[in-house]
Symmetry: C2
């Protein structure tokens, strides 16, 4: 049976953003849908003794160049955020709540947040900014403001991150297709090739 793609991402991840603009179309090529899983890279980098890409000597300069070039080559709007990376806890909690309370809005809300940060120069690190985007997505912001602050939501996100790590997730974007792991926007072509090979 064709399972959904499990798509893990941090809202501060440029390649996660690029992936968010393409993953539904990729899934649709194979009659699949997408489960959207917000994660936080902080705890993962801690486990790996790693750091945000742009903070790494040599690699950081290249990364900034590659974000923009990758977007250009795939015709995806991209403006490097001035504040980068940022905390994405508020956004991840909001999406975690929406997944439960209004699951049909999950994808459009997630894409809205990514787009605001990486294409429209909005800082999405605080709750007020996230709620404004929720309003544009047609979500009830009074309910969401309450819901994203609840302990149960915080715990659910924490659990989601822990479960992702148990499953082997260590970066963003990270996609499981029938339990096969793919890390990076640059693995989208591999997903395509892999699924075609499975079908033979």
């Amino acid at each position: 049976m064709a399972t959904n793609f499990d798509f893990y991402f941090d809202f501060s991840s440029p390649y996660g953003y690029l992936a968010s603009t393409q993953i539904e179309a990729l899934a649709a090529e194979f009659d699949r849908q997408v489960n959207w899983h917000p994660i936080l890279l902080g705890p993962m980098f801690k486990a790996m003794g790693s750091a945000p890409l742009v903070d790494i000597p040599l690699k950081g300069v290249y990364a900034l160049h590659d974000f923009k070039r990758s977007a250009t080559l795939y015709d995806i709007p991209y403006v490097q955020p001035q504040e980068f990376p940022i905390s994405t806890v508020a956004a991840a909690r909001a999406l975690t709540y929406v997944q439960q309370a209004a699951p049909e809005k999950t994808a459009s809300f997630a894409k809205k947040i990514f787009q605001a940060y990486f294409a429209e120069q909005q800082n999405i690190s605080n709750a007020a900014a996230v709620l404004a985007l929720a309003a544009e997505t047609g979500l009830d912001t009074t309910v969401l403001a309450d819901g994203m602050g609840r302990d149960s939501t915080k715990e659910r996100l924490k659990l989601g991150v822990a479960q992702a790590m148990e499953r082997g997730v260590f970066g963003s974007p990270f996609v499981f297709v029938d339990n096969e792991p793919f890390w990076g926007f640059d693995r989208f072509d591999h997903i395509r090739k892999w699924l075609r090979a499975q079908a033979q």
Copy 2:
């Protein structure tokens, strides 16, 4: 004017090996040729505070899986070496010497070394193994044994690594096309898209 591709690689790099099997064909698509530059990742990882991929928690397990899967998806023979990663100083010095003494053999010798290590389960970390492969490439092993041990060869390789880092190289494979930097076998499609865009 169409310049050559500058291709930097460490002989212990799986993605460097995959790249070595495809880069001449990619360059030929655009009427280009390839300059082969052996480098050593050790000094680069030191500068970045990084480590070999497979030694990084979480990422290491995925990397081993991705090496093999990437090879399979591109129909490239691949057998994960049991000893991995290994020292590639001898191989890099040998190729550095051959670049000067018999430049026309550089590409075939480099491909032979990569293939021995990643497709034929040969450990290429010592000078004797490298010389055996040189013999199969039609090189004079007496001359090479002397040449690869010379101080001038050691210095030339050191200088090559330092110059690569100055240019921004921090990993393997790394390719410059008209001074535009591309890191990773997974950027070969980007090279193609980028060159097509330049031509328009």
